[in-house]
Amino acid sequence: MSRKGVKIARELRILRRMTAANIAMNLVYRANFAMFMVSNIAIPVISLLVWRAALASGARLPVGKEYLTTYFVILSFVTMATSSWMAPFLSEDIRLGKLSIWMIRPASMLHESIANNLAEKALKAAMLIPMVGVMWLLFADAVRVPGNGVRWLLFAVSTVLGAVLVFVLDVIIGALAFWLDDTSGINRARTLILGLLSGAIVPLALMPHWSQGFMRMQPFRFTVSFPVEILAGHLPAHDIAVGFGVQLGYVLAVCLLARRIWSAGLRSYSAVGA
């Protein structure tokens, strides 16, 4: 095996060990975990009920009941699969000097965050998928997904890219703590902006007509809405191809930006505390 291959194999072994340990840690606090799951699925369910009620009472929307129902059923899975919660934790680790314990060991400092993300998602998927299944059954009359396997494959790839995009954005936001003492305001803004512009709260198709051009190209669409649209929105092939190009472009851009910010940040790291 080449030197690069050996290095990658080693990194993967470290990641596997960390993910296993993170799964073990999450299983210690079962009640806490169950509550997280309930709160995860609550927003899509409530949103779906609100929009269906609006349609039932005669609201004129640019999309129909089938689109909305399919959108929110798929959304309940995609929001979990692409979510990241590391920015406030990373900021705290930098601010309080906890990053030091990873910096003195021969492995990437982000391994722990990636492992934590993967571990929690693996556990969440085990609990969430049956819940999404129940939701699907309850609204089966209005759920319309393509039977085409290629669409499902594209959906899976796009969801993974969305997860990478959210995670790397979080690295950038968390890394601001290298220069700012308090990033809680930025974290709050990130949660609000991501919720609104990703389509996690309101489908982007329901946003004002004049904003649709911006909505289609802005980066947050590619964290949640785009994968959901692949299944629920019956996007034409051309729109999917363009969407993938833009999504990939955003992923590469944030990765490059994160790398620069991270390495500049390490130079400013003050390793607070003993």
């Binding site: 060990r17 840690m25 021969p106 790291y269």
Partner: protein, 337 residues
């Protein structure tokens, strides 16, 4: 013709400097508002052009009051901080580059920061180190068994870390730090908060590791006993400078040759009580109520104590070396004077 070249030291620093920049803010609401409108930045010199060489196998103590720059120095040596100036080489590497080959050869234990995951047994963290440092199963098992036996923690490696005591956790931290047999061990306050028994165990363990593995150890501590028990050499820092580099005993003897005696009596010491100065070997520092404080020369300490006992029934008697902070203060006041 053969040239003689000095063997490279484990640590070599020349003019090593570190400055921190922070924003200064006056107390109170007005200060906070002013700070929002107009921020004032200040620079603080934490380490000031120090030169240093530590040879392989040495055990060196870094002493100094709070804010002296000792932890900052340790952080630069371990690669956590970028130096602001000067040259630094540890085992032939530039620590701030944090190369994997460098990080595999060192270890840093911070008394107040845990390398172990708290919600799972320590063995989970050890297994992570096995992957990180690419230890074979044989090497790993041998190292775990050897260290657990030396530290007497065989029964703790499978217990959730949050369930063990502070002293036991520190022993497990040391285990994690030494599994990969580092050539240099940096220790920042390794015995802070530990009880007497745990402290003694940790000290004897470190001595053993230095003796058997030849590990170079550099430690900071506020505890004079740690330094006395472990270090063949001390570096005393204050205001970012190294004020003394040498043997601790010699330093203490040269600055304060005496011992401090604090006697507490059952009744107040009568006015006019005379303490024989034993030809200048005893100096009365304070007489206050029931308490008598003396500074006595080491050679006449026994005579002085007999005199103290004869003065009346004692409740408490304490004989100590001069406080390290006093010695450091005196050392630096001499320098600046």
């Amino acid at each position: 013709m053969q040239s003689i070249v000095a063997a490279p030291g484990a640590v070599e620093a020349c003019g090593l400097t570190k400055t921190y920049t922070f924003h200064a803010q006056a107390a109170g609401l007005a200060g906070a508002v002013r700070s929002v409108l107009r921020r004032r930045y200040e620079t603080r010199l934490a380490v000031d052009r120090i030169d240093l060489r530590i040879d392989r196998g040495e055990v060196v103590g870094l002493l100094g009051p709070n804010g002296a720059g000792k932890t900052t120095t340790l952080k630069m040596l371990s690669g956590l901080l970028y130096p602001s100036g000067g040259e630094l080489s540890v085992l032939g590497f530039r620590p701030s580059e944090r190369k994997s080959d460098y990080l595999r050869r060192i270890s840093l234990v911070m008394g107040q920061k845990s390398m172990l995951w708290w919600d799972v047994p320590a063995m989970e963290s050890f297994l992570l180190h096995k992957e990180m440092y690419e230890l074979s199963t044989h090497e790993f098992d041998r190292s775990v068994a050897e260290l657990a036996q030396l530290l007497q923690v065989e029964h703790l490696v499978d217990v959730q870390v949050r369930k063990v005591s502070l002293g036991e956790r520190m022993k497990l931290e040391l285990m994690a730090a030494l599994l990969h047999r580092p050539e240099i061990l940096f220790l920042d306050e390794p015995t802070i908060g530990l009880d007497v028994v745990a402290t003694a165990r940790v000290r004897s363990f470190l001595r053993e590791i230095n003796r058997t593995r030849g590990t170079t150890i550099l430690l900071t501590s506020h505890d004079m006993d740690d330094i006395e028990a472990l270090c063949s050499r001390v570096l005393i820092m204050d205001h970012g400078r190294i004020g003394y580099d040498g043997d601790l005993g010699e330093l203490v003897r040269s600055i304060r040759p005496g011992k401090l005696v604090r006697a507490t009596y059952a009744k107040p010491i009568p006015a006019g009580t005379v303490v024989d100065d034993l030809d200048g070997a005893v100096q009365v520092v304070e007489v206050a109520g029931e308490v008598l404080r003396l500074e006595v020369s080491r050679e006449r300490a026994s005579d002085a104590l007999q005199q103290v006992i004869r003065l009346g029934p004692l409740v408490d008697l304490d004989v100590t070396d001069t406080d390290i902070d006093d010695i450091i203060r005196e050392l630096f006041s001499r320098e600046s004077g």
